[in-house]
Amino acid sequence: MTAFAMAHGTWEDAERLVGTVIAELSGADAVNDAMVRHQLEALEWDSPVFTDDDAARAAGYDGRIAPFSMYLTFGMPAYWKPGMPSLPPNSLAPFAFGAVPAPGSAMLATQTSVEFHDPMRPGDRLSATWRLTGVTRKRLSLGDGGFLDFEVAYRNQDGALVALERTSVFRYDPEPGA
C-alpha cells in the first residue's frame, strides 16, 4: 500500500476504526551499516557500539547494533518502487498517519512515546503494525479537528518487538489566517 494519500471521511468513519489495525507497513531497507553510518555522520555521533562488534559485546550486545532511535527509518516503506506511480511533489514520509478517513486537510504530530525492546542488528528487517487507539474531536487555535491516537508495534523478522510507539496527531482544517 502507499501511505501518502490522506484518506477523507467523517469523524464517525474514524471512530469506527478505533481498536483496529489500519495498516501493516514493511521497512524498505534492512538494517545496514551504510545507513547507520550516514546517521552517525549527520549528527556527528561517536559511539563504537554502532560500528564495532567487540565494543558492542563489551557493552552487553551480541554485536554492533543500530541506534534505537532509527526504528522509524528502518520501519519506513519505500517512497517509490516499481509498479508505483511517480512520487508527487512535496510528499510526506510514507507512514500511515493519513490512512484514517477523517475530515481535515492538515496533520500535526503532537506527542510521541516509545519503548525500546530488542536492539536492531545488521540484516534485521522491520515491519510495523499500525493500530488506531483513539479519536477525540477538539477545536484548537490551529483549527477545528481531532486527535488521532496510534499504537505502532515495530517487530523484526523473527517477530520480536523492537519498538512500541504511541503517537498522537492532530488532524484539522486550518483556520483561515491562523
Binding site: W45, A58, G60, M70, V114, P119, A160
Partner: protein, 162 residues
C-alpha cells in the same frame, strides 16, 4: 567505559551535546533518517506553513536525545524509553541545538534511572521536551552476563516485555 548506577544522584546534569544546523546539515539529516518532507530542507515551503525556516523532525529530536543519554551514560547504558516527546518550537537552519537533561529518579534495585531531557537553541528557548528511562550497569553486578540477549545459539530471541 560506562557510568554505573552507584555513580548517579537525583539532580545530576545530562549533556550538553550540541549540533549546528545549516541547510547542508538538514539535508544530511533528512538523507540519513529518510524523512524528505519539504519542511525539513526547503525554507520556502517551511515558511509557507508558518515556520521561520526549514526545521528538523521528530526523528532528529529522538536521535539527539539518544546521543546525549549515551554520551552521559556510556556504552553500557541502555535507553529503554522516551516518553511524552513533544516538539514545542522549531529547530531551524542557523540554530545550534543542544540537548541537556537532569536525573529525576534513581532505582538501584532495577538499575533504572529516570531523566528529564530537552533540546534548546538558546538557554531560554526549549524546542523539545521528553522523559527517558535508562538502565545502567552496577559496579558490583554481573550486568554484562544478564543483559545478553543471545542469538549465538541460533534460538529466536525472546520478546522482552516490561
Amino acid at each position: 567505559m560506562s557510568r554505573t548506577i552507584e555513580d548517579v544522584s537525583v539532580g545530576d546534569p545530562v549533556g550538553p551535546v550540541s549540533i549546528g544546523l545549516s541547510i547542508q546539515r538538514l539535508v544530511m539529516i533528512a538523507a540519513a533518517n529518510r524523512d524528505f518532507a519539504p519542511t525539513h530542507h526547503d525554507a520556502a515551503v517551511a515558511r509557507a506553513t508558518g515556520a521561520d525556516g526549514a526545521y528538523t523532525n521528530m526523528m532528529f529530536v529522538m536521535a539527539m536525545m539518544e546521543r546525549a543519554v549515551q554520551a552521559w551514560g556510556g556504552s553500557a547504558s541502555r535507553l529503554r524509553a522516551l516518553s511524552s516527546v513533544r516538539m514545542v518550537a522549531f529547530n531551524r537552519a542557523g540554530d545550534t541545538v543542544t540537548c541537556r537533561g537532569t536525573v529525576t529518579a534513581v532505582d538501584t534495585e532495577t538499575r533504572e534511572v529516570s531523566l528529564e531531557l530537552w533540546l534548546e537553541t538558546e538557554p531560554d528557548r526549549r524546542t523539545a521536551t521528553a522523559a527517558a528511562r535508562v538502565t545502567l550497569p552496577s559496579a558490583a553486578s554481573a550486568f554484562r552476563g544478564e543483559e545478553r540477549t543471545s542469538r549465538q545459539d541460533g534460538s529466536k530471541p525472546a520478546i522482552r516485555r516490561r
